[in-house]
Symmetry: C2
Subunit: 719 residues, 2 copies
């Protein structure tokens, strides 16, 4: 259901923004917006090169390739024609037939593996042909999207010669979607899974979801919340899961489920869920068999266990490895995988929260079954605007560690802030763990190359909902997009991806590409400054995590409170995780460990993460006191958001009016909330520093008490 194409273009030029009826691109089409290539010369070249196409094979996947090419080329070139192979300028082919073509042209098809592809111009004599070759049908689908991206971004197809394969095996979205359609930490409407109407009612949106994922190489989806409802494993729901799995299969997407560890008790009628109990094992074995009977390519289970109140093997005196292995054994005969989360922290543990996952999991290295991945959040706490990488990366050489990034903006402005996460993902992936000396990046841990792991994975907690534009904010579509791109290729630069995304989603016009890419590349750092500069973290509103609330000190667990994390007092601010404090730095390898132990060598962006420093501590980069620098960062952040707004406003008339308008409205909110963060945080911390707001900076409009009184019981996305 792309929205109006031809009419939309007419209106665009007619400048219909002033009308009460704004038509145009509403964002539903995402980056698969196949509008006519405006450059006539390019359009003609593309038409010559690909408009007459042939897709070989009759599988569901090959039929989808045919549909996609027909739909896309009709839009991009205003013509598309399926022709005989001999007449085709573009040929898409997989399997042994592709291998034959590859051999006869000396192309290395083996190198791209099962999911990769070649997109290649073949010249023989006067005639030239573009081929998409792959070993599997899904590889051919990926290659087709790659070819289309080339056209969507107005790149030449002349002498095209692309060889690509994913560096990571499992490229997965995690939906924290409840069975009543509430999305925990969702800010874009409710769950796109309409459980009540499944299995009969299958929205076109399900297909478009699969198309979008396949176009960026995502090959797995966990349908339900990690805080799992055991009912998902009952026949009533499995029938619905099967309907989705059937729809997604030809797009190369496997369905996974989050399971509640105590399911044997809750829906199985057993007295225990002890993973070493024979009855429990049998129950899971039978449940796995029941699932695979209906869904032969079922992906497996994602488990949150013994974390934030969820049941787990610890309830029965067993380790995470024992719990994970029981499930792994149930899935193994069917080829399924367990993704076991390392996000655990417990009140009863007498250890600082950032250290607990490492302490709990590192000793288990080597104990997991081979079809278990341990899924680790990027940072040691919980998806803060910025965190150093989790010290688990590099610390478990015998265990495949799956990266868990958050795509949804739980701590980064929900769906109203302009924040591109590419630079944040890149910062984490390029970080050096030093696990096997310099160059032991997180990316190499995750893609399995550092320790030669048998399997690898990357997950993103989805930001998708029923909002027409999927993510509640056009720009936030880019975070779904970059998650997929970086899961395929953890080395790709955030900037390259931003560039592609802008061209595919907004416009190929240079002014738009340059401006929006620039905004995107700066946006994460800006937002860190507006919320948690200099390594501050976890000072947001309680429960809903909306807005600033560094004053939170009333929650039941110490490590749920803001004051636990910023530790502001008359002396200074920050969490001493150096050897003089809780010594979290010991969990990192040398020389990083030593670097982080000393404020002087700690990167400023992590300064208050690792150190409690006096208010008059001198910040090296600016020469300011810590207090002054903190205040300046908050003010700079808010000013920079204002600049983002101005940059956007200058694009009016260059971007589809409906896209433009949507982002413009969200920018109003971003500007407002950046000021709110600035004012509330500066006033709050001033109580401790006792220092004035530096000269020249405007005073906050309200009093601290007024900010503290603000209440948002209905903020979206609550757990």
């Amino acid at each position: 259901m792309k929205t109006i194409l031809i009419l939309g273009l007419l209106l665009f030029t007619a400048g219909s923004v002033a009308s009460s009826i704004i038509e145009g691109e509403d964002g539903y089409r995402l980056w698969l917006k196949y509008d006519l290539v405006s450059n006539k010369k390019l359009q003609q070249a593309y038409t010559r090169q690909v408009a007459d196409f042939y897709v070989s094979g009759e599988s569901g996947t090959m039929q989808i390739i045919r549909d996609e090419l027909n739909y896309a080329l009709r839009g991009l070139l205003s013509q598309a024609k399926q022709v005989a192979e001999s007449e085709a300028s573009l040929v898409v082919v997989s399997g042994s037939k592709a291998a034959t073509i590859a051999r006869s042209h000396n192309l290395d098809l083996d190198a791209v593996g099962n999911e990769g592809y070649l997109v290649q111009q073949l010249v023989s004599g006067d005639t030239s042909q573009i081929v998409v070759l792959a070993n599997s049908d899904v590889g051919a689908l990926y290659g087709t999207y790659r070819l289309l991206r080339q056209i969507q971004t107005h790149q030449s197809l002349d002498e095209i010669a692309i060889s690509s394969k994913p560096d990571i095996d499992l490229r997965v979205l995690n939906h924290w979607d409840n069975l009543d359609r509430h999305v925990e930490r969702g800010y874009a409407g409710e769950s796109i899974w309409d459980w009540h109407k499944l299995p009969e009612y299958r929205y076109q949106r399900y297909i478009d979801y699969a198309r979008a994922n396949a176009s960026i190489g995502i090959n797995g989806t966990v349908l339900n919340n990690v805080n799992a409802d055991p009912l998902i494993l009952t026949p009533h729901y499995l029938e619905k899961v099967k309907a989705l799995a059937d729809l997604f299969r030809p797009y190369g997407i496997k369905v996974f489920l989050s399971v509640k560890f105590s399911s044997p008790q809750l829906i199985g009628g057993l007295a225990t869920s002890d993973p070493l109990n024979e009855e429990v094992k049998q129950w899971w074995n039978a449940k796995a068999a029941e699932i695979y009977q209906e869904i032969p390519d079922f992906g497996g289970f994602l488990v949150k266990a013994n974390s934030e109140g969820q049941p787990g093997p610890g309830d029965f005196g067993r380790t995470h490895a024992q719990g994970a292995n029981m499930l792994a054994q149930a899935l193994k005969p069917h080829g399924g995988t367990v993704m076991w989360r390392a996000f655990v922290y417990a009140n009863e543990k007498n250890e600082e929260r950032s250290k607990q996952a490492y302490s709990e999991f590192k000793p288990l290295d080597g104990q997991f079954e081979e079809n278990v991945l341990v899924q680790v959040k990027n940072g040691p706490i919980d998806f803060q605007p910025r965190e150093p990488f989790s010290p688990l990366f590099g610390a478990m050489p015998k265990t495949p560690l799956m990266m868990e990034f958050q795509v949804t903006m739980e701590y980064l402005g929900f769906s109203t802030h302009f924040v591109y996460l590419g630079p944040m993902y890149e910062e984490v992936l390029k970080a050096d763990t030093f696990a096997r000396g310099e160059g032991s990046t997180v990316a190499k841990v995750v893609d399995g190359s550092l320790f030669d792991n048998r399997i690898s994975g990357m997950a993103g907690v989805a930001n998708i909902g029923t909002d027409r534009n999927w993510t509640g904010h056009i720009i936030l579509q880019s975070n779904w997009y970059v998650l997929g791109r970086m899961a395929w290729d953890p080395q790709v630069s955030a900037e390259t991806v931003a560039n592609d995304w802008v061209r595919m989603t907004l416009s190929n016009e240079t002014k738009v590409v340059l401006t929006v890419s620039d905004m995107m590349m700066r946006s994460h750092e800006i937002t860190v400054n507006t919320m948690t500069p200099l390594g501050l973290h976890h000072i947001m509103g309680a429960g809903h995590h909306f807005g600033p609330a560094p004053w939170v000190d009333f929650l039941g667990r110490a490590d749920w409170n803001s004051v636990y994390y910023h530790r502001a007092d008359k002396q200074g601010i920050g969490f001493d995780r150096s050897p003089s404090g809780v010594n979290a730095v010991e969990q990192y390898f040398s020389p990083l460990r030593e670097q982080l132990a000393d404020p002087a060598t700690t990167p400023e962006k992590y300064l208050l993460w690792f150190h409690h420093l006096p208010w008059d501590y001198e910040i090296a980069s600016s020469g300011r006191t810590l207090w002054s620098e903190l205040v300046h960062r908050y003010y700079q952040g808010a000013d920079d958001v204002k600049t983002l707004e101005q940059q956007w406003d200058a694009l009016e008339g260059h971007i589809d009016p409906l896209q433009f308008h949507q982002v413009q409205m969200a920018m109003d909110i971003h500007v407002k909330e950046a000021l709110w963060w600035r004012n509330a945080c500066v006033l709050y911390f001033q109580q401790f520093s006792g220092m004035p707001i530096p000269d020249g900076l405007p005073k906050p409009e309200k009093s601290l008490a007024e900010y503290q009184k603000m209440s948002f019981p209905h903020a979206p996305g609550q757990g």
Copy 2:
């Protein structure tokens, strides 16, 4: 954001259903689907008659008329041109200028009042012109939509001479939408009001909602649930309410709010909410003034008080009139209205539930302030698939009684059943109360003509949500549509409206119009048969109200249980509300009272509503026993749903593929659930009748125990 128009048509003819990408009409445009008039001759005539248009005046409303005509005619005729008044073939004008034109052509513009309009062909000499004339700008907007309907339904404009005005003053949607976007009894996604992003973020959908409502004459919207959250009256939310009111104002739509009666205590810090307390009065006066400061045309309050746990004046020993009047006095200086619901029943009352509203409200007739309407559900219980009209209609001559219809399908299959409510609304409105002798129809009570009330109103509990097609099911859009049409004109026939709706929403092709209108007109009766034939009621699932559950007997209040209502036992079935029983019939006027007191003269559709009858009671129309008739009705209902499905299937290729596909999927569910109702109810009641399922009817697939075991904890729309 209409979806693809030109491309959509191309694809339609290309038969794209088989593709994985189904394009076309997704239902978002509702009945405002301005596709090209396919009949060339008609198109040419329309183009001559209206394509060159002039709209006089610069108000927001007149600008909207301009936008709508430009948008609509460009779609319908593929041309539209704003020209000078002297050159215009169509002129839209309001106010004194319209009056002047009307006078000079001897047209009675006074007769159409403040909201009505004339659509008239004016001929002078050789030239002819079509004019839309109205006393107000909003009247002109209504007239414009009326003219467009004429074109959308392919009616001639030759010698057009329409004079129309609404018979009912307040034509209002009630949204049972919570501030967290959950919609109580909503089956079409979540609330379209995104409170979190308001006031800055204003979806195009808000405008399209206003357009749809204005096009059918709806002039009020209650934004929030009658089970009201007091926070709606805090400044944080009023700022958001104002944003919506500002958007809706030029469409003639006033915003109302549901208020919690105990707001003075809950958000005002007062010790009481007693309506006779001076501080309480002052609090409400100040609150009203605060609202009108920001929203000068604020509509007023809707109140659910002393009902199902909601607070009310009864908590302070006061009457409903005293409670309503306090609010009315607060609103009166500003021109606001109180809509006070009569849906009250209380556990502590020793009176049968269907009788309580009458008993409580009738004695209060004459005691309400003049800006109070008492809002009465159509039937005496609660929106059952079929109920007799509420005996309050006709019983309170001095009080304007506002009709409350349910548009959302709480008891009629959620959003998966094909049910047009027009015939049900019509049945109620045409029912004769005999309050002032024969012909004292409910319609005449509601429009105020029977008792010459100062004000009149009709409300519909909205079925609108964030689903792309607004109502979760294309066909259910017709219930929103018919609510508006019947609120404007309570005498219009359900069939006329069905016809218009099909033409505007689906197709003008005769086959489609005849088939779908026929399906719609039969659909309500069919669904009554599948669920609650012969006057049965309230036998649905507990809490969520999903599916059959005549066995419910475990709820905390007697009158929440199914067994309370059907009273099946070895002797027979049905609720004796005749004089030999609870004597609810005494609340009706003669001769209805006597008619309903006797099973022989009670219409069969209400038989078991008013009488407990033996299983072998002979049904007059069929000669069958009651048991046999009951079973036959259930079987007939399920069979008829199957027939509906076949009728729909036969339209493939005649309806836009995406619309067709959506309804087809929902029909699968409807067929399945009709069988479920049939089987569960027949098996359950058979326990009491001890009689066999008549020969020739297939046996239910499952056992009663299996049906009773089914559980749906996550069914949508729960309170």
